[in-house]
């Protein structure tokens, strides 16, 4: 990595990489999208033409250098093109979470000073129209899907394809201007602005430069030997840094093909049809998939079920070793081969994982059982640790050194340091430029030497050099007796049970730990059906005594396993309740990336927390909920509180003096 200022191989921006790809392998597929039941493909050369046409169209609408262009919608080639087209014009793309409500959008749109928005459909158009009067700089909107929009006032509203048409018509006139702007893109100019989901406070706009994106894309692509014939499925929110790196950074650097599903509901079918070779999913997706498989196996015929369990037991024992290239006996290998034919192969095919060479998970800790399940099947699933401010990569697991309890070694070019309080710091070429219009936060997070605080507590394992993350630095606390309190650790253990969707553990500065539990409706619903338990609503199912019995068993098993951990044995869950509603991002209880907002929940359900600690058997509560259309309502419930058995702490062996 010699002359970074010149940009990797002279390509200093995403549009420059696009030009290179179109020139060097213009016929290779760049984008695919399933439409009307058929996968439509665009080659790199076609992609360049489409993007250029849209960029010219943006010029006809008056996009100026430095403007912010908001992009809102699900993963579609057109919206990726819109981002690159904006860059071509010297503007800055700002992707937003498509499921954010109008209020949340208003904040980001106003903060980034967007003059233009490129949105997917009527739903998004409506949201932006609802708040546009409050946006200081907002001017025009472009939509992709015209359905239902015919009668809208089109003075400030344009159809994506007609903007492209305008661009093509004005090509001769505007091309020199576009060339000038494209040529003027520097390595340290802003590439994209991504708003962090914000577990606390308002979202912050993370400014990432072309250098950040291209260096990170390059280093990580080389780390895993990504190739031009790789296939990825783009289905994670476009506003999330991971999607930007995978579907733009790495895709444009390496030249692989980005596949967009037909709709969110068809995702699993599309995944199966594409069978990506490089795949990323947050732990939740793997969890859901495992839950689904387990549910379906319960419903399968006895023969299939026995075969599945027999071979899965074998795979759990030898699969990961085979994957890591460690010595495995001949008989075990033969048996694994047989399992591959009878169970693993069909199973991987059903999940769309037949061709995976490299799979990653990150964002949350993954349950070791879930992780091992997929590795046992021969899927090269690895973990990485990163954040928006680092352009994703901080640490990453190399092939052959994969474990569920670490997050790997520093990614290429990343320096790592552990602070005195256990907080992890890093410095890398991917380190973000700044938080947009927020110098205080920038200064708090990034010191003058470029070290960035992650907010996570962890340590580097001496034997392997791998980083281990314990919890959010601010969540790791002390219990009243001085013992260590790491809620995430306990929550993750409980969340491994398919019946449990979400857990919130309380216990900081308290005598003992207590927990809120959310049941997983699909798993518990299926279980109820098989056990002839009738229920009419989520609330009723969640409060059913047999469901509580089952959850109680899960809690007690977890306590037993926690009791074995010397450091964290104090974190056993003494009392718990099953919540009457699912924790929801619309109610502010989760972030848009579905992380628990501990503080919000603690305040909102204060009555329930108090009941957990005052020893009462049940508690009556009223909760405000927000429906999808923004209306609010109340649900009332009386929740039963259960005591769970706790286990004696394994006495640490005190060395004789």
């Amino acid at each position: 990595m010699a002359h970074l200022t010149e940009g990797a191989e002279g390509s200093r921006s995403i549009p420059a990489l696009l030009a290179r790809n179109a020139r060097e392998f213009g016929d290779s597929p760049a984008y695919r999208e399933k439409e009307f039941g058929i996968w439509q493909t665009w080659s790199w050369a076609e992609t360049e033409e489409e993007i250029e046409a849209f960029a010219l169209g943006l010029l006809t609408l008056g996009v100026a250098e430095g403007d912010s262009v908001a992009v809102i919608g699900r993963n579609r080639p057109t919206l990726y093109w819109a981002m690159v087209a904006a860059q071509m014009c010297g503007a800055i793309p700002v992707p937003l979470y498509q499921d954010a409500n109008a209020e949340e959008m208003a904040y980001v749109l106003d903060h980034c000073g967007a003059r233009f928005a490129v949105v997917a459909d009527q739903e998004q158009v409506d949201k932006v129209i609802e708040v546009q009067d409050r946006l200081s700089r907002f001017e025009q909107m472009i939509y992709v899907d015209p359905r239902g929009l015919r009668k809208y006032d089109h003075s400030k509203l344009h159809l994506f394809s007609s903007v492209q048409g305008e661009g093509r018509a004005a090509r001769d006139r505007l091309l020199p201007e576009l060339e000038r702007r494209r040529g003027g893109l520097g390595y340290d100019d802003t590439c994209v602005m991504l708003y962090t989901s914000g577990t606390t406070g308002k979202p912050k706009g993370v400014v990432l430069s072309n250098r950040n994106i291209i260096e990170s894309g390059k280093a990580s692509s080389e780390f895993d030997n990504l190739r031009r014939d790789d296939e990825v499925l783009a289905y994670l929110p476009m506003a999330w840094v991971g999607d930007f790196i995978f579907s733009i950074g790495q895709a444009y650097w390496t030249g692989f093909c980005v596949n967009c599903p037909e709709s969110a509901e068809t995702l699993l079918t599309d995944l199966r049809e594409i069978a990506p070779t490089y795949y990323f999913a947050p732990p939740r997706v793997f969890e859901t998939q495992l839950t689904q498989i387990m549910i379906r196996m319960e419903d399968a015929s006895p023969l299939k079920r026995r075969m599945f369990h027999y071979f899965m037991d074998h795979a759990r024992r030898v699969g990961p070793r085979i994957l890591d290239g460690k010595p495995v006996g001949t008989w075990d290998r033969v048996k694994y081969r047989l399992g591959e034919v009878l169970v693993y192969g069909p199973l991987k095919n059903a999940m769309g994982f037949s061709r995976i060479r490299v799979g990653y998970t990150a964002g949350e800790a993954i349950g070791p059982e879930i992780f091992d399940f997929f590795r046992a099947l021969g899927i090269n699933l690895k973990q990485l640790y990163g954040q928006t401010e680092a352009t994703v990569f901080i640490t990453i697991q190399p092939d052959g050194e994969v474990r569920s309890d670490t997050v790997g070694v520093p990614a290429p070019g990343v320096e790592l340091r552990i602070g005195d309080n256990g907080e992890v710091y890093y410095r890398s070429p991917g380190t973000f430029v700044e938080y947009y219009k927020n110098p205080e936060s920038t200064a708090e997070t990034k010191d003058p030497e470029g070290w960035v605080a992650t907010g996570d507590a962890g340590f580097i394992e001496e034997s392997s050099g791998h980083l281990r993350i314990i919890d959010r630095a601010k969540d790791v606390g002390k219990m009243a007796d001085g013992g260590m309190f790491a809620p995430k650790y306990v929550e993750n253990k409980l969340k491994f049970y398919p019946n449990i969707l979400e857990v919130v553990v309380f216990g900081a500065s308290r005598e003992k730990c207590c927990a809120f539990i959310n049941i997983d409706l699909s798993a518990v619903g299926n279980w109820a059906e098989r056990h002839n338990i009738a229920y009419s609503s989520y609330q009723e199912l969640a409060g059913h005594p047999q469901v509580l019995d089952m959850i109680q068993r899960h809690v007690e098993e977890t306590n037993e396993s926690i009791a074995r951990d010397e450091m964290l044995s104090g974190c056993q869950v003494h009392r718990f309740l099953v919540l009457h509603k699912e924790l929801d991002a619309d109610d502010g209880e989760l972030t848009r990336t579905r992380k628990v907002r501990r503080k919000v929940i603690g305040e909102k359900f204060e009555d329930l927390v108090n009941a957990l600690y005052d020893g009462s058997d049940s508690v009556y509560t009223e909760t405000e909920v927000t429906y999808e259309d923004g209306r609010k309502g109340k649900i009332k419930a009386t929740l039963e509180i259960r005591d769970a058995r706790v286990f004696p702490v394994a006495q640490p062996q005190v060395a004789a003096e």
């Binding site: 439409e35 009307f36 039941g37 058929i38 359905r147 239902g148 015919r150 009668k151 037909e262 709709s263 509901e265 068809t266 079918t269």
Partner: protein, 270 residues
């Protein structure tokens, strides 16, 4: 003929001339008079509702329009011509498609196949070429499949494309039925209680689709529905029936303030 000028709706849509006219329709089953001398028209591009209490003769009326029943007296005029006595499939060929009150889909077939049956009236290839998937049959199927895929996309049922209909919940089956009717690219779409038995959310979705169909394809829609809120919100003009007679006809507001209609729904001592 009556005027062909049409009118403009409250939300600014231009409604065209008369597409179908029912003149003095009477339908008798033995001694029972299901429909008694009813006349009304359906104009191009409008959403026309037929409402009335149970047993008022609404479904019979729809069956007359779709050609399932031949009226005892009176005549049906379609696109300016009197319609001769026809079989239902002949009526379908002329551009009248319908859905049924109690879903009539092929339960064992996939959603896609069910919707494809809606294209049958547009297919001409012989059995032999269809069986060997050759020549015109092949081109025809590809062309029809494309049309079907557009409908599937429009009604957002891509995720259940390959699912057997028997496995679907009720609300979705209703939507598949609508898809099949739409696949026929009808001039008039007859909906027999499209929202019966649905929950609020499903009703909202279905209302949205009905409006979208009318807006996007300009399809004329004639629907029977019990849910008053839905009828009043959706339709441009409403015919009210009671005991086989027409007791009201006009815009939702006119109908709502019509004393006969109020009596029919609230009941009066006879």
């Amino acid at each position: 003929m009556k005027d062909t000028e049409g009118y403009v709706t409250a939300d600014g849509r231009q409604i065209g001339g008369v597409l179908m006219e029912l003149r003095n329709i009477t339908l008798k089953f033995g001694g029972v008079t299901a429909i008694n001398d009813i006349s009304f028209d359906i104009r191009e591009g409008e959403i026309r509702a037929i409402i009335g209490p149970n047993g008022a003769g609404k479904s019979s009326m729809l069956n007359v329009i779709s050609g399932f029943y031949t009226p005892t007296e009176g005549s049906v005029w379609y696109k300016g011509e009197q319609r001769p006595k026809m079989k239902p499939y002949e009526v379908a060929r002329m551009g009248v498609a319908r859905t049924f009150q109690n879903i009539a889909l092929f339960e064992g077939m996939t959603v896609l196949d069910n919707v494809m049956t809606g294209r049958l009236t547009h297919m001409n290839a012989g059995i032999l070429s269809q069986a060997i998937w050759w020549g015109s049959a092949r081109d025809e199927e590809m062309e029809n499949r494309e049309k079907v895929e557009r409908v599937i996309d429009f009604l957002e049922i891509q995720n259940i494309r390959k699912t057997p209909v028997g496995r679907l919940p009720y609300g979705l089956k209703k939507r598949v039925e609508l898809a099949r009717a739409l696949a026929a690219e009808p001039s008039i779409l007859l909906l027999d209680e499209p929202m019966a038995g649905m929950n609020v959310e499903e009703k909202e979705d279905m209302s949205r689709f009905i409006l979208d169909v009318n807006d996007e394809f300009g399809t004329t829609i004639c629907l029977i529905e019990h849910d008053m809120g839905v009828v009043m919100d959706l339709s441009d003009r409403v015919v009210v029936m009671d005991y086989g007679r027409k007791i009201g006809d006009g815009s939702p507001d006119e109908v709502r303030s019509n004393q006969d209609v109020i009596d029919a729904y609230l009941g009066v001592p006879h």
